[in-house]
């Protein structure tokens, strides 16, 4: 097949493979699954059982293509509606779940009033929704009135999920996100507590604070108000945001945008992109705009009802009470606790995945810590995930949502691998790129300290600062700023809080550690023991203080991780200034403290986000003890250590290579097929054939033999195949047929018998950057033979370059290189010397010297093979000759015999017939031939002069007399043919 055709065929093959691959990829690409969407309205009883009024819950049912499927109840955050979770609902339905996204009472298009997840209202509504799901044929059922259902939601929705799971045993799995455990603690925190803890982010509440719950239930029973919570500090700004969200529909109080995930570039995260969800919720709930008037139509609304939006009156009244006084009555606390999962967390048996945000000043890490403790103490399965977002950060990104869906996949649908209960937390690197820190996730085997596990590892850091006075200003102003609620994703997350935090001088006491020389990763809530004392003479009241932990860089830049502040209220301060010792649980953070940084605990008397007493006074604060920071060592990779699959693959590949090498070596050691009768014969070529693609035969059935001591000339015009034959002799080219035997051994590439052969073919080959003598030496060294065998001096004599051998070969002329190459061929004085046109480019004196060298070389018993296209050279140099043309052997024999040997003579005469008669008549002259104007005759031993004399005597004009050149005839004939063609 011609090369062009072959090339096109190869191209077509490649193209076919590419097209097939593209088609295959296009066909196997998954289509996006179709999801059915249907709006439903579900009527639920309004209020405790027995009441007759109904509330219509506006919901949307999303169905996957594969039915029946497990169901997921999707609750929304405060201020949202079913539309704010529409995207997540579609995602879940695409995974194969039936999703019921609904607007809670008092939100969106649902009627009713907001009761803050009260067990009688929202939780009961949710139970009715589960009853409704039990009637649907699309939903997989576990039994009569028991659908396979999971619950998930953020913030308000998350608390509903926990409360529902704690009261309704039909819930099979739940994933609450960024939600609270005890709303009274979340909105009225008091970080002062006693005792140490075993879990990383333990706050000052949630039962089992002393490392092992006495009651075992881990939950607070309703009605018993913890003295600490009764005296909490009101989280004014967040509470205001929530109240506002309940007043005006569409004011979504949830996080905007998505949090940055590990491996994401800052522009990949959907930052600031969920403004649409807020807009859509406002559009859909346009019907409920403005304050909704409760009660029967016709009655004039009271002032209270006008200002309360869609809240239930008792909720509204509670808020008003706290917001105006800054202190909560026990009734308010009871209301808030009733709205908390803490009451029922001990009853949760469904597998729970608790997701909490690291950047969340509303519901911090201590909330999920308490829930985890309560669930674990009761024997439930709980997995804790801390992600790089929150109310101040962002909503969960794609990876976290995938993890949530994997949780449901395993625990509801029975698909996929068990996600396990290991503890994951996101670390935000302190090195920022484009204003956003990069994130990595760390995995620990379990959440430390749960249900009797080993307590979390803690490190003690000494604090210095002594006793410092702090001043509380009148009216709580000017106040320090630690965070602005929900500001997070409008500017860079971690950086904004570092920049926003401002302390007012004179109002804060700071206690610092020494500078770190190694990185310390704080995971959880650090703890510090403070001594607070009143200053005798100053007005005496409860001390309201705000403790914060700063990361101070070497250049003095201070960052408040997560914007977290721990407010505390210290009651019962003695008037004489005796200090009261108070253990403070600082806010839970995940922060790497870099080498060169130090940590500062700052205690301030004011904070913009909280309600403070108006009376001015002063206190002294001292650090009594060390700062105890929790550490949770973990691995950055989720998987186990040794990657076995690629190692096995590497072993297989290496084994394969080794096997191939061994096989190749073994194949080489086949029988050598020696011919002992030819051991003394330097060269025997039999039926040698070589043709190239397209059928062009370079060498065609060539056979000849060289005996020791001969100087054989290989004669032929250019293109006769001489060089090809010589290359085959050197083992560079494989013949297609026939064989070459040197000293009886078959010639193959790399065969040892080639060491007895010295060659110069198609020009010199030297390294131009080395000198002549270095080239020869290195060449000999490359043959691996002992340096003494090289006969270097003799070879250099042949080259005859003198001192020029020390110059770089790059500076040589062609003739010098030629001579050096011939000398290289003679290194070691090989038994068979093969030279291809050795006199090409040499001057006549050099040619003559070369001729003498070759003759002497052959006289020692060695053999020389010279190839040339010059007839005269072959005649003069060689003893034997082989003539080739177009790859074939044309003539072979001794030069002397061919060149006018045996007395054959040719005469050019005027009248050939007459001359033939004369010569034929002469005695001793035989074999008379006439050829044109030439007469050939065999003179025997007679000299030509005798024949000339005879011819002249006979009157024949003799123009030329000389030896008969059979060789030239043959050769010129060939050359003539070439010229014609």
């Amino acid at each position: 097949m011609s090369p062009i055709l072959r090339r096109w065929r190869l191209l077509a093959l490649i193209l076919a493979v590419l097209v097939a691959g593209t088609v295959l990829i296009a066909l196997t690409r998954d289509d996006t699954p179709t999801v059915g969407v249907r709006d439903v309205g579900i009527d639920v009883v309004d209020g405790p059982a027995g009441a007759v009024e109904y509330v219509r819950i506006d919901a949307t049912l999303y169905t996957p293509s594969d039915l029946p499927a497990p169901a997921v109840l999707l609750a929304h955050g405060f201020g949202g509606s079913k539309d704010s979770v529409a995207d997540q609902a579609r995602e879940l339905a695409g995974r194969g779940f039936v999703v019921l996204a609904y607007s809670a009472r008092g939100f969106g298009a649902s009627t009713g009033q907001i009761a803050l997840n009260s067990p009688d209202y929202e939780v009961t509504d949710a139970r009715r929704l589960v009853d409704w799901l039990a009637t649907r044929s699309e939903v997989r059922q576990d039994g009569p009135n028991d659908p396979r259902v999971g619950v998930t939601g953020s913030s308000y929705g998350g608390a509903l999920a926990l409360s529902l799971a704690g009261t309704d045993p039909r819930v099979d799995a739940l994933v609450p996100l960024i939600t609270w455990n005890d709303l009274s603690q979340a909105l009225l925190p008091n970080a002062a507590a006693t005792g140490s803890t075993v879990t990383p982010a333990a706050g000052s509440f949630g039962g089992s604070f002393g490392g092992g719950s006495a009651s075992g239930s881990g939950g607070l029973t309703l009605g018993t108000a913890d003295p600490a919570t009764a005296a909490g500090v009101f989280k004014r700004s967040w509470a205001g945001v929530f109240f506002g969200a309940g007043l005006a529909p569409g004011a979504d109080a949830g996080p905007r945008g998505e949090a940055l995930e590990p491996g994401q570039e800052p522009d990949e995260a959907g930052l600031g992109g969920s403004a649409s969800s807020g807009a859509s919720s406002s559009a859909s709930s346009g019907a409920g705009a403005g304050p909704v008037v409760g009660g029967s139509a016709g009655a004039s609304p009271s002032l209270l009802q006008l200002g309360c939006g869609r809240f239930r009156p008792e909720v509204c009244a509670a808020y008003i009470q706290v917001a105006t006084t800054g202190l909560a009555t026990p009734e308010v606390v009871r209301l808030l606790q009733a709205a908390s999962p803490a009451a029922v967390a001990g009853n949760i048996t469904a597998p729970t995945m608790l997701v909490q945000g690291v950047q969340d000043t509303l519901f911090g890490l201590d909330q999920s810590d308490a829930t985890a403790r309560q669930i674990a103490d009761a024997g439930g399965t709980v997995k804790v995930v801390w992600y790089n977002g929150g109310h101040d950060g962002g909503a969960p990104g794609q990876r976290l949502r995938n993890k949530i869906m994997d949780w449901f996949d395993h625990h509801l649908a029975g698909r996929g691998t068990d996600p396990g209960t290991d503890f994951e937390y996101a670390v935000s690197g302190s090195f920022q790129r484009d204003g956003l820190a990069s994130v990595r996730t760390v995995y620990a085997p379990s959440y430390p300290g749960l249900d009797g596990d080993t307590p979390v590892q803690r490190e003690e850091l000494a604090l210095r600062g002594g006793t410092q006075p702090v001043f509380a200003p009148p009216g709580g102003s000017p106040a320090a700023v630690s965070s602005v609620p929900g500001l997070g994703t409008l500017s860079s997350a971690a950086g904004a809080f570092g920049g926003v935090a401002v302390d007012v001088p004179g109002q804060s006491a700071s206690f610092g550690t020494t500078v770190f020389d190694e990185q310390l990763l704080i995971v959880g809530a650090p703890q510090v023991t403070l001594e607070v004392a009143a200053i005798p003479g100053a007005p005496l009241r409860d001390a309201v203080l705000f403790a914060k932990l700063y990361d101070v860089a070497a250049d003095g830049r201070r960052t408040l991780p997560g914007g977290g502040v721990a407010p505390l209220r210290v009651t019962g301060l003695p008037a004489d200034g005796t200090p009261v010792e108070v253990t403070v649980a600082l806010p839970g953070i995940v922060r790497p403290i870099e080498p060169g940084h130090r940590v500062e605990v700052v205690v301030s008397t004011t904070d913009q986000a909280y309600a403070m007493p108006a009376e001015p006074t002063a206190f002294t604060v001292a650090a009594a003890g060390a700062l105890s920071v929790p550490l949770v060592p973990g691995r950055s990779a989720a998987g186990s250590g040794v990657p076995t699959a690629p190692l096995v693959g590497i072993g297989a590949v290496l084994g394969g290579v080794l096997l191939t090498a061994v096989v190749a070596v073994l194949r080489r050691r086949r029988s050598d097929d020696p011919r002992p009768d030819l051991v003394e014969v330097p060269l025997v070529i039999e039926n040698l054939t070589k043709f190239y693609a397209g059928g062009f035969k370079a060498v065609d059935d060539l056979s000849f033999r060289v005996e020791p001591g001969q100087v054989l000339g290989l004669l032929g015009p250019n293109g006769a195949g001489k060089t090809t034959a010589l290359r085959m002799l050197m083992g560079l080219i494989r013949p297609n047929a026939g064989e070459i035997r040197v000293f009886g051994r078959l010639v193959r590439p790399g065969d040892p018998v080639l060491s007895r052969l010295g060659a110069f073919v198609e020009g010199p080959g030297f390294l131009p950057h080395l000198s002549g003598i270095d080239n020869l030496r290195l060449y000999w060294a490359a043959t691996g033979r002992p340096a003494a065998d090289a006969r270097m001096d003799e070879a250099l004599e042949v080259a005859g370059l003198g001192v020029a051998v020390r110059r770089r070969v790059g500076t040589y002329s062609q003739g010098m290189r030629q001579r050096l190459a011939i000398a290289q061929a003679m290194l070691g004085l090989p038994d068979l010397l093969v030279l291809d046109e050795p006199t090409n480019g040499l001057d006549p004196p050099q040619i003559r010297e070369m001729r003498d060298v070759l003759r002497r070389y052959a006289a020692t018993g060695r053999t020389v093979l010279v190839s040339s296209h010059l007839l005269a050279e072959v005649e003069q140099t060689c003893s034997h000759v082989v003539v080739m043309h177009r790859g074939r052997l044309v003539a072979a024999g001794e030069v002397a015999e061919i060149v006018a040997g045996g007395g054959q003579a040719s005469f050019r005469v005027g009248s050939p017939a007459e001359a033939a008669a004369v010569l034929g008549a002469a005695s001793g002259i035989t074999d008379v031939e006439v050829e044109g104007d030439q007469v050939h005759a065999d003179l025997g031993g007679l000299p030509r002069s005798f024949a000339v004399a005879a011819l002249v005597e006979a009157g024949v004009a003799v123009e030329q007399a000389g030896p008969r050149r059979r060789l030239e005839d043959a050769f010129l004939q060939l050359v003539g043919e070439e010229a014609v063609q």
Partner: protein, 307 residues
Amino acid sequence: MTDTPGPVLAEGRLQSDRPTERRLQSGDGRGAGGYRAGSTMPLRVELRRQLRRRRTQLSLGFLVLLPFILLAAFELGSDGEGNTSGGLVDLATTSGANFTIFTLFASAGFLLVVVVALFFGDTVASEASWSSLRYLLAAPVPRSRLLRQKAAVSALLSWLALVLLPAVATGVGVLFYGTGDALSPTGESTPFGTSLWRITLAAAYLFVHLSWVAALAMLLSVSTDAPLGAVGGAVLISILSQILDSITALGGLRDYLPTHYAFAWADLLATDVDWSEMAWGTFSAVTYAAAFGLLAWRRFATKDITS
């Protein structure tokens, strides 16, 4: 024989060899006296041939010089103190270890590829272009052995390059930026001693990873007579692979590209090392190297040498 009247082979010299003396046979009666296939083309001979070349000296010299050039660039451009925000480039001046890591990071994608392709792609093809390949093969140096020895010397030179660059960079970095912790862009810090060990491992991984370029360059080197074609071809294919790797639409198919794991050694910068990417990268590199290497061997062993 014209420049200087060189003496011709002396009359009696060659004739003094008696025929029986001359034929020193080797043990099995096959080759000439003193010839053993196993001792042809010794490494030191090939090393001498390669080390004397200007391109070897220049490329190794450039690698030694590169850290100094980078140092000058950083010093001329910065305000003075090392800032701690940004990617690896901005971290480079925080400590000596970071400087070395940045140097490796900057040169792993292209510079080291070119150096390795140069050492491997140039060997056989340049012999072919000088016409010295046929004389070596007729010496006879067995073809497999020739290829093997040349590959070994090229590997030695590449190894030298991969050792020189981080070593000099570490020296320069420690002198100018101190022996502080190595910081990664995700905020993890490793002590100096550990980071030095990690840098050594990273260089070792790079050596294994670049073996695919080496094998490809070798394959091209035995296929063509032009050294530039072999080196350039290998570099071009590496660039093509990098371009395809950046097309995220290819998804999982990108794992099959040879350069996909070129920066897997960055996992060594973390506090606890994830070995899976590097393991897959080694597997990928070894597979490609084996495939190209076997192809090169087979091609060279059966090829008709026409150069």
